[in-house]
Each structure stands twice: as structure tokens, then as C-alpha cells.
């Protein structure tokens, strides 16, 4: 950062440069967790996957829309997607990139001003925003040259405006959070962060589904003019699209007002950030690090009876004490560990979003009826995404260092802890959600038919989850969650999506020949058992040679 700019922002240039260098260096260093998992490239790989994913998404969207849209409407669409993704990325990585309480411990006693520290974090964040924003907008910038009323200069103008829009989005999210942190205690704040993430995932999924529906209605072309309406003033992506329109010579009152709104919003936001927010940043960080809430949980009335009933049921489900220990540990962590919830709960949004969408579109048909299509099977297969989330994320925890316990206890087969965890996942999360899905389906078809579809998909889920467990190398809550992993997983989910199309196809064929259904369900259950047995043996064998290296 040039010295003049440092002076303008009232920050120490030397401190700023030093801290920024370290910050960026640390971002790409993966900690070695137990020598058998030497993966120092994993962070870089996760980041690369995110870039690739964004490039693919941007390619698909731009190529499928540019012929139907003019400059303004095209810019609006792409900017909307880009800003939504950016907001989500900041929300997901907020705890690590924007406010890391560990930084307060290390830097707190040092003579680093709040402003300097704030701009180090913002520059760090903006680095990611620009790189991710570029991967989301570079291809559309080029493709947009061939939209209606466009030109070669569209690429440069659009790209510049998209960078500003993305940076503004990131800054806005941070402003919003700094406001929330001031209003409430840190624990409540983290709760809200968790649920916002879940809502964002929902929005993102609906947004992704919105596009194909919009395409269906694009008989001719959609122009910027046809989109003009009062709601434009409430949608930031329209403001920035209007800036592009203004540069292209459209100087109508509507365009100028919207473009002006965009410019003013950006300027005010950055001015406010560089002023008030940067000054209060250290206070915010202190609040985040010192705020603790005493969570004394006294048992409610009637709890002892409930507890004894639950205990008896638990003894039936997990009679082995080691399995029971694994079951209860994971069960409690899935209920209480906010970080884990934030990472896993969004996965449930996908299948339910699909179910809600299909009910809305009236696309569910009785699978046993003659001429029934594929649609009915589509939503529930998304539960396999839930399996992926659990597979990747259940081993992670902020308390991963406590896993030393696994090595020290005299457990003849450590895989029992793993089975306990799997049972907790299936019984407390997956089964209730499939039941809920089945109830929803039964509003669209006869109850028995809905039950058949639900049971089949549940067994498919079990088989898939069991298959994934063959690649499991970690015990529950035993490794540190690494930044960027969520984006990596998201990318993987999209990439393997075509495989599920095959699954849907098979399901369709089985339901066409309903006599095969029972055998298919039995086969899936059998496969589940086989895969889980194999994975149990492999995990136990692998664990017996693993060492606790930190």
C-alpha cells in the first residue's frame, strides 16, 4: 500500500505490510496433523477447487443466457450471482478471515492500532474476494461482448464494475456483522452466523434453481428496459449493472439514479469502514474473545423420567458401552458444537429445497402410475449430499486435540466409537429427515407409494454413506477443520452430480418393475452392511498403526 494511502487511512505502513505478508503466508500453510496425513497442499488445493468451481458456474450461466439478454440485463444477472456467492463466501469464512479471536491473543498486547489491524484483515479478505470475484466474472466479462448492444469494451468495464461490486458486498457483510456484534453477545452472534449460513445455502440453492426456470420463460430476449421497475432500487446488483449501462451511453434518469445509488453506496460504505469500523475493530475483537456465557443447564422437571426412558432405549440401540460412548459424544457435539452445525446443517437444505420446489411446480407424480417420469425420484436423491457432508465433516472439530483420548483408552476395537457415531447420525438426523420428507411426499401421492419411495431412498442413502465410509481415515471429532474446505466440498458436490443422474435412472427402472423393489431395498441394505463391515475392519487396522502426532 503506498505511503500516502497509509497516511490517508491513518495506518502504520510498515506494520501493515509485515502483518499482511504473514497473514497471506499463513493462509496457505496447512498444519500437519498426525504424520500419516501429510497434506500441506490441501489448503491450496481447496482454494484451487473453489476457483475452478466458480469458473464452471460462470461459464454455464454466461453461455446459457448471453444470447437472450442485452448488456444491462446480462450484467444484472451475472452480478446478482456473483454478489450472492461473494456474500456467502464471506459468511462461511467469517470466523477465520475477518475475526479470528486467536489474533487478539497474539496481537492484542502489541502496539498495533485498530485501524492498521483492520486494514490488514480487510486487505487479506479483499485478496480472496478479488481472486474469487475474478473467477466468477472473467468468463462472463468476455462472453458479454456478444450480448445485444454490447461491444469489446464491455469486458473491461464489466470486470472493473464487478470487482467493485464484490468488494462492496464483502464490506457490507462485515459492516452488518460488526453491527450485530455490538448489539448482542458473542455466543448469540455465533448462533445467528450459523443460521444465516444455512439460510444462504437455501437461497443459493433456490437461486441455482431459479435460473432454469427463468430460461424457460425466455422466449425472446430480456432487456434492461424490460426489467425497469421500482424494485430496482432495492437490488444492489441492479445499481452496479446501471453503472455499466451509463458507461454504455444510456443516460436516462432511471439509469443515472441507480448508478448514482451504487456509487454512493460504495463510497459511503468504504468511508464508514475506514472511519468508524476500523477504529472499533480492536474493541470488536476484544468483545469476541472475552465474552463467555455461563451455560448452567439445570435439568427441567420430568427430565429424570425422560432420561431413564432414553437411557433404556439407548441400551437397546447401542448396547456396547464403547459404541454408546461414541454415540453420545457425537450426538452431543452435533447438537452443541456451533462450528460443526454451521458446516453440516446446510446440507439438509438441499433435499428440502428440492422437495419444496417440486411441490411448488407440481412435479411429483405417483412413481407406480403408468407413464410416471423421473421427477419424483430427483429430490430425495439429494440426501446423498447429506452423506457427503457428514463423511467429510464429522471427523472435524475445534476440540480435535481432545482426541488423544482415543489412543489412550483400552478399547479392543476403536471402530466401535465410529459405529456409535454413525448410529447417532442416522437415528438422530437422517431418519427423522427422511420421515419428514416422506410425510411431504404423501401429500402428493398415496401414502404407501410415498413410503416406498422414502424407504428406497433411505436405503440408497445408507448404501452410499457406507460406501463413503470405505474411504474414511479418521475418527469422529479428531481433526482440525481447515479453511477453504467448505468451498472445496461444495465444488466436489457439483462435480459428482452427474453420478446421481445414474442413480435416478436406476431408481426409475426399479419402480417401473415394482416386483424388483423389495429385492432392490434388500440389496441396498445388504451392500450397506458389507461396506460398513469392511470399513470397520479397515479403520481399526489403520488406527492400530496410526500415531498421535501433533
Amino acid at each position: 500500500m503506498p505511503n500516502k494511502l497509509c497516511q490517508l487511512l491513518q495506518i502504520d505502513c510498515l506494520q501493515y505490510r509485515s502483518l499482511l505478508q504473514i497473514s497471506l503466508k499463513l493462509d496457505f500453510r496447512s498444519e500437519r496433523l498426525r504424520g500419516y496425513r501429510g497434506s500441506e497442499k490441501s489448503k491450496k488445493r481447496a482454494f484451487l477447487f473453489t476457483i475452478v468451481f466458480y469458473l464452471i458456474i460462470s461459464l454455464v450461466i454466461s453461455l446459457s443466457t448471453f444470447q437472450h439478454l442485452d448488456v444491462g440485463s446480462y450484467a444484472f444477472l451475472i452480478l446478482s450471482v456473483s454478489m450472492l456467492f461473494m456474500a456467502m463466501a464471506v459468511v462461511i469464512e467469517f470466523n477465520d478471515i475477518v475475526v479470528n479471536p486467536q489474533d487478539a491473543e497474539i496481537l492484542g498486547p502489541r502496539p498495533v492500532s485498530s485501524r492498521t489491524y483492520f486494514w490488514v484483515k480487510m486487505t487479506n479478505l479483499f485478496f480472496y474476494v478479488i481472486v474469487m470475484g475474478a473467477s466468477l466474472n472473467l468468463i462472463p466479462a468476455i462472453v458479454g461482448i456478444w450480448t445485444q448492444n454490447s461491444g469489446y469494451h464491455f469486458a473491461a468495464i464489466y470486470f472493473l464494475v464487478s470487482c467493485i461490486a464484490n468488494l462492496t458486498t464483502a464490506a457490507f457483510v462485515i459492516l452488518l456483522y460488526s453491527f450485530l456484534v455490538r448489539m448482542m453477545n458473542f455466543e448469540r452472534f455465533k448462533d445467528i452466523l450459523a443460521y444465516v449460513q444455512i439460510v444462504f445455502t437455501f437461497l443459493l440453492f433456490f437461486g441455482y434453481q431459479f435460473l432454469p426456470r427463468v430460461m424457460q420463460h425466455l422466449n425472446g430476449s430480456v432487456t434492461y428496459t424490460s426489467l425497469q421497475a421500482p424494485w430496482n432500487y432495492l437490488v444492489p446488483s441492479m445499481w452496479y449493472a446501471s453503472i455499466i449501462m451509463a458507461v454504455f451511453g444510456n443516460i436516462s434518469t432511471h439509469v443515472v439514479c441507480l448508478a448514482g445509488l451504487g456509487v454512493v453506496f460504495t463510497v459511503v460504505l468504504f468511508a464508514h469502514s475506514s472511519g468508524k469500523i476500523s477504529l472499533e475493530y480492536a474493541d470488536m475483537l476484544n468483545k469476541l474473545t472475552t465474552a463467555t456465557v455461563s451455560q448452567v443447564e439445570s435439568l427441567p422437571r420430568g427430565a429424570s423420567l425422560k432420561n431413564s426412558l432414553v437411557k433404556r432405549l439407548l441400551n437397546k440401540i447401542v448396547p456396547d458401552p464403547v459404541e454408546c460412548a461414541g454415540y453420545e459424544l457425537v450426538s452431543k457435539y452435533l447438537h452443541r458444537d456451533r462450528s460443526l452445525k454451521m458446516r453440516i446443517y446446510p446440507s439438509f437444505a438441499f433435499p428440502f429445497a428440492m422437495i419444496a420446489l417440486f411441490i411448488y411446480d407440481g412435479r411429483f407424480t405417483d412413481p407406480f402410475a403408468p407413464g410416471a417420469g423421473f421427477d419424483t425420484f430427483f429430490p430425495l436423491i439429494f440426501f446423498v449430499y447429506v452423506a457427503m457432508f457428514f463423511h467429510f465433516l464429522l471427523p472435524t472439530s475445534d476440540d480435535w486435540q481432545a482426541a488423544w483420548l482415543y489412543w489412550v483408552v483400552p478399547v479392543d476395537s476403536i471402530s466401535k466409537i465410529y459405529w456409535g457415531a454413525i448410529k447417532a447420525v442416522i437415528l438422530q438426523y437422517v431418519l427423522p429427515y427422511f420421515l419428514a420428507a416422506g410425510i411431504l411426499l404423501s401429500t402428493q401421492m398415496p401414502v404407501t407409494h410415498a413410503a416406498a419411495v422414502t424407504v428406497f431412498n433411505f436405503c440408497f442413502f445408507l448404501a452410499y454413506y457406507a460406501f463413503l465410509s470405505l474411504f474414511n481415515t479418521d475418527l469422529p471429532l479428531s481433526k482440525k477443520y481447515e479453511r477453504g474446505q467448505s468451498n472445496f466440498r461444495f465444488t466436489l458436490m457439483v462435480i459428482i452430480f452427474p453420478l446421481f443422474v445414474i442413480g435416478i435412472g436406476l431408481e426409475y427402472l426399479i419402480f417401473r418393475h415394482s416386483s424388483l423393489l423389495v429385492f432392490a431395498i434388500g440389496g441396498l441394505l445388504f451392500l450397506s452392511i458389507i461396506f460398513w463391515r469392511i470399513s470397520g475392519v479397515r479403520l481399526a487396522k489403520r488406527f492400530s498403526t496410526q500415531e498421535y502426532l501433533t
Binding site: 463467555t292 456465557v293 455461563s294 451455560q295 448452567v296 443447564e297 439445570s298 435439568l299 458401552p321 464403547v322 454408546c324 460412548a325 453420545e328 459424544l329 452431543k332 457435539y333 452443541r336 458444537d337 472439530s397 476440540d399 486435540q401 481432545a402 488423544w404 483420548l405 489412543w407 489412550v408 483408552v409 483400552p410 478399547v411 479392543d412 471429532l477 500415531e547 498421535y548 502426532l549 501433533t550
Partner: protein, 256 residues
């Protein structure tokens, strides 16, 4: 009892524990001292199953750590230096978890947990998640977890870290009583005063080797030094600390 037989552990060519042999009888508190990186924690981790020896072996109550690891684990209690816990659990839940992993009888486990929590004055916090606990409170739970299954051999790695003076005094008395009951205690620490006070015998490790082994009086005679601090400095061939301190303070005073 604990018996180390030519125990060795290396990491990528670096020898952390170098051919160590040692015998600690039952009822003895053996203090283990050494500079940072000497191999103390590595030695302990080999006994607890967290690391495997590169060569050699060790016996715990007659059971080989390599041939009969489960039998060894049933008999040991371990307090790690990190003191890491699953903090989203309450102390009750964590101790229940540990007890189950040791296959303890539920009724006995419940009674013991109750007593431990009362004695450590944590009873009113039994349903409170440990995330909100102080370091000292967490350490009490870690120590309870290490003792709940009545181990005959106890490995302690900086067990008094973060504890207030009263709790530290309580624990020192507890360790003494446990030793009198016939338990073997292997106590790793940097705090020389504590080791000197409670340990029957002191082993000093440096660069993976035992450089001194005996009671405090034996070590005094051996090294002609009166304090444990001086003994430690001598056997670990530490440079003259006074000279280093002088040079360091001179550098601190230099601003340009």
C-alpha cells in the same frame, strides 16, 4: 511398576529418546525433568500408546506396551500436557464418556464422578459445558478422568499447569497418598520445586538420554550441588545462565 528396556524413538532421523532403560517400582513417585525437547513427553506417549517405539520396549505392571497394549492401557492413567478436553460436554458427560471407554460399571462410575466433582468443588458446575471453565477447572476434570478407573500406573505431564496454589497443594497431597497406596507415578515437569518436594526419585533426561537418576540426596552427592536447580544445570551442561542473562539484557537495551 514401570520398566523401560532400551526404549528408543526417532522422528525422521532425529533421536528423541535414545536407548533408555529404567525401572520404577510400585509405590514410587518418579520425577522426570529435562530441558525442552529432551524426550520426556515422547517417553510418556510411548507408554500410553500414542506413539510407537522405534526400538526397545517397556513393561507396565509386567505387560509389554507392544505385545499387550490393551492390558497396559487398562492399567494406566494419563494427564496430557495439553489438557485438551471435549469442551462442549459437561464434566459429568465427559467423565461418563471416559468411564464407559474403560468399561466401568455404571453405578460405580456415577458414584465416583459425584465424589470427584464434590471434592474438587465442581459439583455445582456438573451440568455446565466445559467451554466456560477456567484452565484450572478443566485441569481438575482431566485429572479426574485419569484416575476414575483406578489405574495402578499414572503418567502426569505438567499436571499442575494453570492451577492455583491451593489446588496444586491438594493434588500434591493426592499424588503422595496414591503412591502410598502402591501406585506408580511418573511425573514430568519443568517446575523443579514441585518435583523436589513430592518425588521420591528424580530422573533427568537430556537429548533423549538419562543423565541423572537418583534421590535428591544422591544427586547432591553425585554432582556436589545443593539445589536441584544447580544439579539440573550441571547435568544438562547448561551454559552460564548469568552470562547469557547479562548479554540478553544488553541487547534489549539496544534500540538502534
Amino acid at each position: 511398576m514401570i520398566e523401560l528396556k532400551n526404549l528408543t524413538r526417532s522422528f525422521n532421523g532425529l533421536v528423541a529418546v535414545d536407548n533408555v532403560s529404567l525401572f520404577i517400582p510400585s509405590g514410587q513417585i518418579c520425577g522426570c525433568l529435562g530441558p525442552n525437547g529432551a524426550g520426556k513427553s515422547t517417553t510418556v506417549k510411548m507408554h500410553t500408546g500414542m506413539l510407537k517405539p522405534t526400538s526397545g520396549t517397556a513393561l507396565v505392571d509386567g505387560f509389554d506396551i507392544l505385545q499387550q497394549p490393551l492390558e497396559v492401557k487398562k492399567r494406566i492413567g494419563y494427564v496430557p500436557e495439553s489438557g485438551a478436553l471435549y469442551e462442549n460436554l459437561t464434566p459429568l458427560e465427559y467423565l461418563q464418556l471416559v468411564g464407559r471407554l474403560y468399561h466401568m460399571d455404571e453405578k460405580v462410575l456415577e458414584e465416583k464422578i459425584d465424589e470427584f466433582l464434590r471434592l474438587f468443588k465442581l459439583w455445582e458446575h456438573k451440568n455446565q459445558r466445559m467451554k466456560t471453565f477456567s484452565k484450572g477447572m478443566k485441569q481438575k476434570i482431566v485429572i479426574s478422568a485419569a484416575l476414575v478407573h483406578n489405574p495402578s500406573v499414572i503418567f502426569l505431564d505438567e499436571p499442575l499447569s494453570g492451577l492455583d496454589a491451593n489446588t496444586a497443594l491438594l493434588l500434591k497431597n493426592i499424588f503422595r497418598r496414591l503412591a502410598e497406596q502402591g501406585k506408580t507415578i511418573f511425573y514430568c515437569s519443568h517446575i523443579l520445586e514441585v518435583v523436589e518436594k513430592i518425588c521420591d526419585r528424580i530422573v533427568i533426561i537430556d537429548h533423549g538420554k538419562i543423565v541423572a537418576d537418583g534421590t535428591i540426596n544422591q544427586l547432591r552427592l553425585l554432582t556436589s550441588q545443593s539445589s536441584l536447580e544447580a544439579i539440573f544445570s550441571k547435568v544438562t551442561h547448561s551454559e552460564d545462565m548469568a552470562e547469557i542473562a547479562e548479554a540478553f539484557s544488553k541487547v534489549v537495551g539496544t534500540m538502534s
